[in-house]
């Protein structure tokens, strides 16, 4: 089980949280093509390595936040609030070869 640091409540066990999928996927405009809608709805990075994802502290404060996690070690590298810009995953990957936790 993961230990996840909610930016509002602190560290809590994984069962208090709901994973909400990949972060920073923007809804296209109504003029978007079918292909752009498929990108938005279905196609995902599914990266083996660092991914940015959304979490919700559903059995705690109920709030959404974002995190960068390594999908092989499951270690959290950065946790940040919704609305903050997406970290540069390439820079983080170069810096966090030791798998540091924030």
């Amino acid at each position: 089980m993961l230990l996840i640091r909610c930016p509002y409540c602190g560290e809590r066990p994984e069962i208090e949280f709901r994973n909400m999928g990949e972060a920073h996927i923007l809804r296209p405009t109504p003029a978007a093509s079918d292909d752009e809608m498929a990108d938005f709805l279905y196609r995902r990075s599914n990266t083996k390595g660092l991914i940015a994802e959304r979490w919700r502290h559903i059995h705690g404060c109920g709030r959404f936040f974002n995190a960068v996690r390594h999908t092989v070690t499951d270690k959290f590298v950065v946790i940040y609030k919704s609305g903050e810009p997406k970290p540069d995953l390439a820079v983080l990957a170069a810096a966090s070869t030791g798998g540091a936790r924030s």
Binding site: M1, L2, E14, I15, R18, N19, G21, E22, D34, D35, M37, A38, D39, L41, Y42, R43, R44, S45, N46, T47, K48, I51, E53, R69, T71, V72, T73, D74
Partner: protein, 416 residues
């Protein structure tokens, strides 16, 4: 060597010293007509049917580790075809047809045992969806029947049908042709048969890139043992499909999650069939060796860790103990995780990709083992003829763009 009663007797008198290697261990050639990436059951079956049914024998199966070491060796070996939609019924029943005489065709005992798959219903909603499945299946000609709680207990005597448990059994859907098969034997049987027809099985060889020509078509795969030219490439990489497809610039509608299973110490025969319950997240059968094979649910986040949260297993064990109180003191021996590639509609993708010469077979999610023969058969057809077999025609990549999803998610959200 052809396996037979005669060869068994001969070898017995010769001290069992004459059994040959079951498949060759060749060095990769500079190029092949078809390269299959992934040496699991689906990939090896694809290679076998390319050689056996389409005459394409200049084929290589490239495997990063050892064959059958991924999800083929990590599943709970359940075989069934009682899916809701006609597209799925066609595909999974195509596989079930091939299972019937697979041991004879491959000359290898895959230990397919049609002992029946009993899917329990615990709520009014469960009863309604189960009966909807049964009617859909019977319209399509797939065997599936409704059992009362007492009939469920008669079919599986250790089942607890008391009314006072948390989720009492309100009945069950039974597919008698469903059952189990031996996962290793399926992999080894296809490997041996494919190798015998000339397919090169190259293990310990990791694909690191997919090279494309100026026109965009697939030209070669880069591997840890050098570049291998290929006219056509099939990706059959299960949990790593997104990683491999990204090498050719293809972004897939997949997410990979850990899915766990565990086995108990060996017991004398007690569970005569496969029992599944989607509502309380448990499925169980007993192997011929005697261990109880138990499947749990997936973790909630994308991961390639091949391990999962212990609380997921706990949840499943609680459900098993309530359904089978007699198993409460059985000890669990081993648990493990596999990485399952799930699509948004919980149906697989067996299709061409936008890249000429590149084909993909993925998205089997939590339920690929049962489809191994049908998947390989249909995918070989797709690669050889550059058009789908009728059984997989609907399982395209474009269905996500066109909104033609094959939504099996509501029906089988956990055990699939």
């Amino acid at each position: 060597m052809h396996f037979s009663y005669l060869s068994l007797i001969r070898q017995a008198f010769a001290g069992n010293a004459g059994w040959p290697r079951q498949w060759r261990d060749p060095e990769p050639k500079p190029g092949y007509d078809v390269v299959i990436i992934g040496g699991g059951g689906h990939g090896l079956a694809t290679a076998y049917y390319l050689a056996a049914e389409h005459g394409i024998r200049n084929v290589a199966v490239i495997e990063r580790g050892w064959i059958g070491g991924g999800n083929s060796g990590r599943n709970t070996t359940i075989v069934r075809s009682n899916y809701l939609w006609e597209e799925s019924e066609a595909l999974y029943d195509h596989a079930l047809d091939i299972w019937q005489d697979l041991s004879q065709v491959l000359n290898y005992n895959v230990m397919y045992s049609a002992r029946g798959v009993l899917m329990l219903a615990h709520t009014v909603h469960d009863v309604q969806t189960s009966k909807r499945h049964i009617h859909a299946n019977r319209l399509y000609g797939i065997d599936n029947e409704w059992l009362s709680p007492e009939e469920c207990r008669d079919f599986c005597p250790p089942l607890n049908i008391s009314k006072d448990i948390r989720y009492p059994v309100m009945g069950g859907a039974l597919q008698r042709k469903g059952g189990v098969a031996r996962h290793d034997a399926v992999v080894w049987g296809y490997a041996r048969a494919a190798s015998g027809l000339g397919v090169d099985i190259i293990q310990n060889c990791e694909v690191t890139g997919i090279r494309r020509s100026a026109s965009g078509a697939v030209e070669a795969v880069e591997t840890s043992r050098g570049a291998i030219k290929a006219n056509k490439v099939g990706i059959v990489a299960a949990g790593h499909s997104s990683v491999v497809a990204a090498m050719a610039g293809v972004r897939l509608p997949l997410e990979s999650y850990p899915l766990q299973a565990l086995v108990s110490e060996p017991l004398k025969p007690i569970i005569p069939c496969v029992v599944m319950s989607n509502t309380i997240h448990a499925y169980i059968s007993q192997s011929d060796k005697g261990d109880l094979v138990i499947g749990a649910g997936t973790d909630q986040y994308v991961s390639y860790s091949q391990t999962g949260g212990l609380y997921i297993n706990n949840h499943t064990i609680e459900a098993i103990c309530e359904l089978f109180p007699t198993l409460r003191r059985v000890r669990m021996m081993r648990g493990w995780g596999g990485i399952v590639d799930t699509t948004p509609d919980r149906s697989p993708i067996l299709a061409r990709t936008p890249v000429p010469g590149l084909y993909i077979n993925c998205g089997w999610g939590t339920g690929g083992f049962k489809a191994t023969p049908g998947s390989g058969h249909a995918f070989a057809h797709t690669i050889a003829r550059d058009e789908p077999h009728p059984a997989n025609a609907a399982f395209t990549l474009e269905r996500f763009r066109d909104g033609r999803l094959i939504d099996e998610a509501a029906a089988a959200a956990v055990a699939h």
